[in-house]
């Protein structure tokens, strides 16, 4: 596999700069916009084999590793590569860093061209639809009209649904995974805990930490720890850690060091996250997710939002996901049925919670492979 990996045509992290001002949902205008993206595989002559991967809240364009900051594998190595479900021998894969991100695309850590200082909280509040508009600019610049597939999990799934609504004529197939048509009250609540943790950190400095040379690492770590719990399941946590103690035989009767393995694990999740992520980016992107309400943004009903879509949909959920539960995926399916849309829906049995879409789930891979094969046949793409 490793030898094969080397054969993937991988772009260096490409960047493009859009000078033309972009009007955002908030009414604000942003310019210029830098977009960082990676591509894998080769675009065919008809430009008909392009797949857009939409990453999640804390993801980035490094689908395959090594990650330039952490030197770790990419976040979707289980899904993308030669002979993998998103086969780089067959498809041309594009993954841009989202607007507001911190891996090269314009976000709050970038300099405001007017003041010459980092945007910080003067960066405009952005929406999922704004992110899609920016992704579309990358697709345009690559000379691609319609995408063979738009795929993504979690926030990536929201982006997929937004594509299938706002730019429906450019989407041949759509795969929203572990997603929802609106962020639930419970999910907004968890995000607010994370944001408050960041803003309560004295090193956040009212959002202007870059000017002071400080970083709200403790706050961002707590935000990550709280969020990470929502990505797992009770069963997965129990299986992984139970009540086992961390490097000790007995309880410490103190607070400094973790007593339990689960504490140690969460602290590690927090501290490794702050190495690669910007606190203000976390505020802005989590806000964009909270604002997402597909029906409200498109005439009040999901049916109205999706009306006219001719895309082939494959909706995927995981049985133990309590952050984006199966019931929310079913809502997408019902709306698509109401327009006699072309929809497949699979719930994958897994006890790994929301994060299952990033993990080794053979039935999930078989579903995606089969769906894409079917779609490719309908699109007339050559077999490998």
């Amino acid at each position: 596999m490793d030898a094969a990996r080397h054969a993937v045509a991988v772009s260096a992290c490409d960047q493009m700069v859009i000078e033309e001002p972009l009007r955002l949902d908030s009414g604000a205008v942003l310019a210029p916009i830098t977009i960082a993206y990676k591509t894998y595989g080769r675009l065919n002559r008809d430009r008909s084999n392009a797949i857009l991967i939409c990453h999640a809240l804390t993801g980035d364009q490094y689908v395959l590793g090594p990650h330039p900051v952490t030197d770790k594998p990419g976040w979707w190595e289980t899904m993308v590569g030669p002979g993998m479900p998103l086969d780089t021998e067959r498809y041309f894969i594009i993954c841009p860093n989202v607007l507001g991100g911190c891996m090269g695309t314009t976000g709050p850590a970038h300099d405001d061209p007017i003041t010459g200082r980092p945007y910080g909280l003067t960066f405009p509040v952005i929406t999922i639809r704004d992110m899609v508009r920016v992704q579309a600019l990358v697709v345009d610049s690559l000379g691609i009209g319609d995408l063979f597939c738009v795929i993504g999990g979690s926030m990536g799934g929201m982006l997929v649904l937004e594509w299938a609504t706002t730019l429906k004529e450019r989407v041949f197939s759509a795969v929203p995974i572990a997603a929802s048509v609106r962020h639930s009250a419970q999910n907004i609540a968890f995000h607010e805990v994370g944001r408050q943790a960041i803003m309560a950190d004295p090193d956040w400095c009212g959002g202007e930490y870059q000017r002071t040379g400080r970083r709200p690492e403790r706050g961002l770590a707590v935000a990550r720890m709280a969020a990470h719990i929502t990505y797992l399941s009770e069963a997965a946590l129990h299986r992984k850690f139970g009540r086992r103690l961390q490097n000790r035989e007995q309880l410490s009767f103190a607070f400094a060091d973790p007593d339990f393995q689960v504490e140690s694990y969460l602290r590690h999740q927090g501290s490794s996250f702050v190495e690669r992520f910007d606190a203000n980016s976390y505020l802005y992107i989590s806000r964009a997710m909270d604002y997402f309400d597909l029906a409200a943004d498109h005439g009040g009903t999901l049916t109205a939002a999706l009306q006219g879509s001719r895309a082939r949909f494959c909706v995927v959920s995981f049985s133990s996901d309590w952050l984006f539960p199966t019931a929310e995926s079913r809502e997408i399916v019902r709306a698509l049925n109401a327009i006699a849309g072309n929809v497949s829906f699979v719930e994958i049995a897994s006890d790994k919670g929301h994060d299952a879409f990033l993990l080794d789930e053979p039935e999930f891979f078989a579903t995606i492979t089969g769906f894409l094969n079917g779609a490719a046949e309908h699109r007339g793409l050559a077999r490998r």
Binding site: R312, C314, V315, V333, S344, V346, A349, E377
Partner: protein, 211 residues
């Protein structure tokens, strides 16, 4: 869902599926309710370029279908058909599933709301073996008919061909074609309530429409 004894035409798909496929013209739109592992949908796609969709109750069947590249969702014929708009499909197909739903009459009505026409196949409880099981041996005809013991059968509403024709009459549904299939997978078209069909048909396939 459940199948009657899987009589196969040599080298082909299940005989009732073959009969259904013959009733469907090329390149039309078909909704297959209770599509199982997707055999009929795949056949219709490959052989007739049909634009097909499926609903299946069992998650394993759904996943198998999607892995075959078919457009199938997990759903329940009794509760989920109301989501579909009127006349979105040329044909709504219910093969070997009618006997397993809670309200066959309501499902049949939905089929002819969603599809311009409906195709229904089901095991015939009027078959002589079923009659014999009850009359001679005092055993539930269900077991003889579809293999499941009576206490653990998904087939909660088995009916005879005569029962079915009467239900259609009551619902104002017009029967356009009816075909009985005997134990050797031989097919015989019939009209109305045929005593012979009801006695020798292991299963029956009906093409239905509204006036």
């Amino acid at each position: 869902m459940t199948q009657a004894r899987p009589a196969l035409k040599s080298g082909g798909i299940r005989v009732d599926l073959q009969l259904i496929a013959e009733m469907v013209p090329p390149a039309c739109r078909v909704l297959d309710i209770g599509c199982g592992d997707g055999t009929l949908l795949e056949y219709l796609w490959r052989e007739k370029q049909v634009d097909g969709r499926g609903i299946e109750l069992g998650q394993a069947g759904v996943n198998a279908c999607v892995e075959r590249g078919l457009s199938v969702i997990q759903g329940d014929a009794d509760t989920d058909l109301i989501d579909y708009p009127d006349h979105a499909f040329d044909f709504a197909v219910l093969s070997q599933t009618l006997q397993a739903v809670r309200r066959p009459d309501a499902v049949l009505t939905q089929l002819l709301r969603i599809g311009h026409q409906a195709i229904v196949s089901f095991p015939n409880l009027g078959h002589w073996r079923a009659r014999l099981a009850l009359a001679l041996h005092g055993r539930s005809p269900l077991t003889a008919l579809v293999g499941h013991p009576w206490y653990d059968s998904p087939n909660i509403h088995p009916c005879t061909i005569r029962d079915f024709v009467q239900m259609c009459d009551g619902l104002g549904i017009r029967i356009r074609r009816s075909i009985a299939v005997d134990g050797d997978a031989k097919t015989a078209p019939f009209t109305g309530v045929s005593r012979l069909a009801n006695l020798f048909g292991v299963q029956a396939v009906f093409l239905l429409g509204k006036d």
